[in-house]
């Protein structure tokens, strides 16, 4: 049996990679992927905790997060395509008109 702390460590590593990706990368597509990574890091923690506590709620929440993530990916990619048609770039540092 693998210790629960190992699952949580994996979860934290996945989440940390996602965070770094979101903050450091310029490509919007990569950023979206990083967000997925963060979400899945959390999923790992949910499933591990659910299994450890013998509670089905953890798995239920993981499915819930996946569903929302799928929807988010669909909307995010659609926005990305619209953005690319408008600006011909997906570099996030180029998209800074929203300021005063």
């Amino acid at each position: 049996m693998i210790a629960p702390s190992a699952y949580l460590l994996l979860s934290a590593i996945l989440f940390g990679i996602g965070v770094v990706g979101v903050v450091a990368r310029k490509n919007v597509l990569i950023i979206l992927m990083s967000v997925e990574l963060m979400l899945n890091g959390v999923n790992v923690a949910f499933v591990a905790a659910g299994s450890y506590l013998g509670d089905a709620g953890g798995g239920v929440f993981a499915f819930m997060v996946m569903t929302v993530a799928a929807a988010e990916a669909a909307v995010g990619l659609a926005l990305l395509i619209a953005l690319y048609r408008l600006k011909e770039t997906i570099d996030i540092t180029e998209l800074k008109v929203l300021k005063w």
Binding site: V19, V23, A24, K26, I92, T93, K96, L98, W100
Partner: protein, 700 residues
């Protein structure tokens, strides 16, 4: 129903209020659309029916075309208004009369009836009910107000028959009756003040009734502003009364006077302050020096309004208030002296102005100011009964004089200048006869109402412990001048050669019955109204004094009458004869100057041009006020505007805006538009939050 008819006392003010509601509805829903449609349609006769605009520039009540009788398509609602407005006031008079008769059947010391309608203001120790009080004083006032008011309403139906805004006029007139009845019937100072302000509002609305004329709307504003100054005094006086007595109800306040006097709470200084402030209000409302200037200008209103508001009722409210507060005034000898001196000086001062005026209504206006001065003189020497007696008789003969002058103006298609009248006796016989009676009454010819009341005041001014021969002299001289200018008015208007425009003369006509009947009734009252107060020295029983004695006597006994010296009856007779002689001299002089040697007045004016000029221009008081007060206030206000408002207030407002802008300019740099930055701050925030929670859990 223990009190019988007295339980219906509330109907007295309520009936005119009903008239306001009904006529108001008619004015809004019938007259207004009609007038609006009319002004768009622009039919030819509109300048005819509508009074002030056009035709003759000097005439404020133009009645051009009244003779032609061409009531072009008089709408049906006018008949309804012409019925409702006088009917409600007449009904109020009947109810008031029945109430007073019921009150009179009670024993003399039980003649105070209070009807509490509903609790009005309850705040801490301040309890003010909406309550009516009928006692001998308020019953005299209520009867005068409703009685004379009813006659003037009837007269107005005839006088305003060519007016387009017929319903609007009667709404204001009914509203005035309501406010005036609240004023006289209230049982506390605050409710009285509601009526006090109400009549001020109606006065403003009716003076400026022909608001399209600049001078009329200016006169309305002047009256309102002058009254505000006085109202400020009344307000302060009410604060002091409440502070001292803990109540504003008449009966409670006056009942506490002896107690507080003994315990030293109510010092003479405090009583002087309260009464002087009340008197300031009275000088505004009753047009005394220094606030009298609005009343002559108020003649811009329709003539029945001048008769009702600016002669018979509203302007006497100040006298009523002083008489009502007599218990307080008698405690303040300094105030009494101020009241007496201001009354006497006003009486003679405005009488002299009346000599040189040529506008018939302005002569009467100055005469009113002068007669009000008499009433205050009477109050000032402690003769409150005489003041109220003169108030009543004056209401009769002065209302009659104004209505008569209105009838003359009506006959002459709006002409008000006496220099363009003359010889009117044969054109308007009823008006002439009634006005002549009123003139005899105001001049103080024995047997008529004015004689008894004026002589009572003169005698009190001489004999009362607060009076003096100087005050008597001033008042007697003013009486002589009054007789002079009133007969000047009559001679210039009704006697001699006609100086009318031939065109106007052709149309000169007697007024319709709705106008002559009130004139006749008032003439009877001007003769007989004084008979209820014939003094003992002339073999009368002075019913009037006995009637008012319960209101004034307890206080008068404690105050002025105490030190009264008993003068022999012969002295009273001699003084009476002397004052009659002075009046006859005035009449004789007027006869000599305006009937015998008609060129003489112009010669005199030429001989002393400066004197004539000063009197003709009303001693330049208006100009002086303009220079001394109004300009100063305007300059001061301009200073405040430029210094305080523009620099200080605007500085605060603009400074606040500048501060926010400067802060925003710095803070906006945080919002760079780069998404990575936002994401980083989000992360930093989350890290800090989680770090804090971990730290807390570790520390615990």
């Amino acid at each position: 129903m223990v009190n019988g008819i007295l339980d219906y006392l509330w109907l007295v003010p309520a009936l005119p209020l009903l008239g306001v509601v009904l006529n108001g509805a008619i004015a809004l829903f019938a007259e207004r659309p009609f007038l609006l449609a009319d002004s768009h349609g622009g039919h030819g006769e509109s300048s005819h029916g509508s009074s002030p605009r056009g035709t003759s520039p000097s005439a404020s009540d133009a009645h051009s075309g009244s003779h032609s009788g061409s009531h072009h398509e008089a709408p049906a609602y006018r008949k309804l208004v012409a019925f409702i407005a006088p009917a409600v006031v007449g009904a109020a008079f009947v109810v008031a009369l029945l109430c007073v008769l019921s009150l009179a059947s009670r024993p003399a010391d039980g003649r105070t009836f209070v009807q509490i309608l509903f609790p009005w203001i309850q705040a801490g120790s301040l309890l003010v009910p909406a309550a009516l009080q009928l006692d001998p004083l308020s019953s005299v006032m209520a009867l005068v107000v409703t009685g004379v008011g009813f006659l003037i309403h009837v007269y107005s139906v005839g006088y305003m028959s060519h007016e387009r805004a017929f319903a609007r006029y009667f709404v204001f007139l009914n509203l005035f009756m309501f406010a005036m009845l609240i004023l006289v019937l209230a049982n506390n100072y605050l409710l009285m003040f509601v009526g006090w302000e109400g009549v001020g509002l109606c006065s403003y609305l009716l003076i400026g009734f022909w608001y399209e004329k600049q001078s009329a709307s200016d006169a309305g504003k002047k009256a309102f502003v002058a009254n505000r100054i006085g109202d400020f005094g009344v307000l302060l006086a009410m604060f002091l009364v409440f502070w001292t007595f803990g109540s504003l109800t008449y009966t409670e306040v006056f009942a506490k006077v002896p107690l507080l006097r003994e315990s030293g709470v109510l010092t003479t200084g405090l009583a002087t302050a309260i009464t002087l402030l009340l008197f300031l209000g009275a000088t505004g409302k009753s047009a005394q020096i220094p606030l009298y200037v609005w009343l002559p200008d108020a003649m811009e209103g329709p003539t029945p309004v001048s008769a009702l508001i600016h002669a018979a009722t509203m302007v006497t409210a100040g006298v009523y208030m002083v008489a009502r507060s007599s218990a307080l005034f008698l405690l303040a000898p300094d105030t009494m002296m101020v009241v007496a001196v201001i009354g006497a000086v006003t009486a003679i001062f405005s009488a002299t102005i009346g000599i040189c005026q040529t506008d018939i209504k302005r002569v009467l206006a100055y005469s009113t100011v002068s007669q009000l001065g008499y009433m205050f003189l009477a109050c000032g020497v402690g003769a409150f009964t005489a003041a109220i007696f003169h108030l009543m008789t004056h209401a009769f003969f002065k209302a009659l004089l104004f209505l008569g002058s209105g009838s003359v103006i009506h006959a002459l298609s709006g002409e008000q200048d006496m220099q363009k009248m003359g010889g009117l006796r044969k054109y308007v016989p009823v008006t002439f006869a009634t006005m002549f009676v009123a003139t005899l009454a105001i001049a103080g010819i024995p047997g008529l109402s004015g004689f008894f009341s004026k002589d009572e005041i003169l005698w009190q001014a001489f004999s009362s412990s607060l009076g003096s021969p100087v005050l008597w002299g001033l008042a007697a001289l003013a009486a002589g001048i009054t007789a002079f200018y009133m007969f000047r008015l009559v001679f210039l208007t009704f006697f001699g050669e006609s100086r009318m425009d031939p065109e106007v003369e052709k149309h000169a006509h007697e007024s319709p019955w709705t106008m002559t009947v009130p004139l006749t009734i008032l003439a009877v009252l001007s003769v007989a109204g004084g008979w209820i107060g014939i003094p003992a020295v002339l073999g009368g029983s002075n019913l009037f004094e006995h009637w008012l004695a319960p209101v004034f006597h307890p206080v008068a006994a404690a105050g002025a009458a105490e030190g009264a010296v008993h003068h022999p009856a012969a002295l009273e007779m001699w003084l009476m004869a002397l004052s009659v002689a002075i009046a006859l001299c005035g009449i004789g002089l007027a006869y000599f100057l305006y009937r015998v040697r008609t060129g003489k007045p112009a010669e005199i004016a030429k001989q002393w041009p400066t004197l004539y000029d000063v009197v003709y221009h009303k001693y330049y008081i208006d100009e002086f006020y303009d220079w001394a007060v109004i300009r100063r206030i305007v300059t001061f206000s301009n200073g405040l505007w430029e210094m305080f408002d523009a620099l200080f207030i605007d500085g605060i407002v603009n400074g606040a805006a500048d501060l926010v802008r400067a802060a925003g300019d710095r803070v906006r740099r945080l919002q760079g538009g780069v998404v990575g930055g936002y994401a980083f701050s989000l992360l930093a925030g989350a890290v800090l939050l989680v770090g804090y929670i971990l730290y807390r859990s570790v520390v615990q």
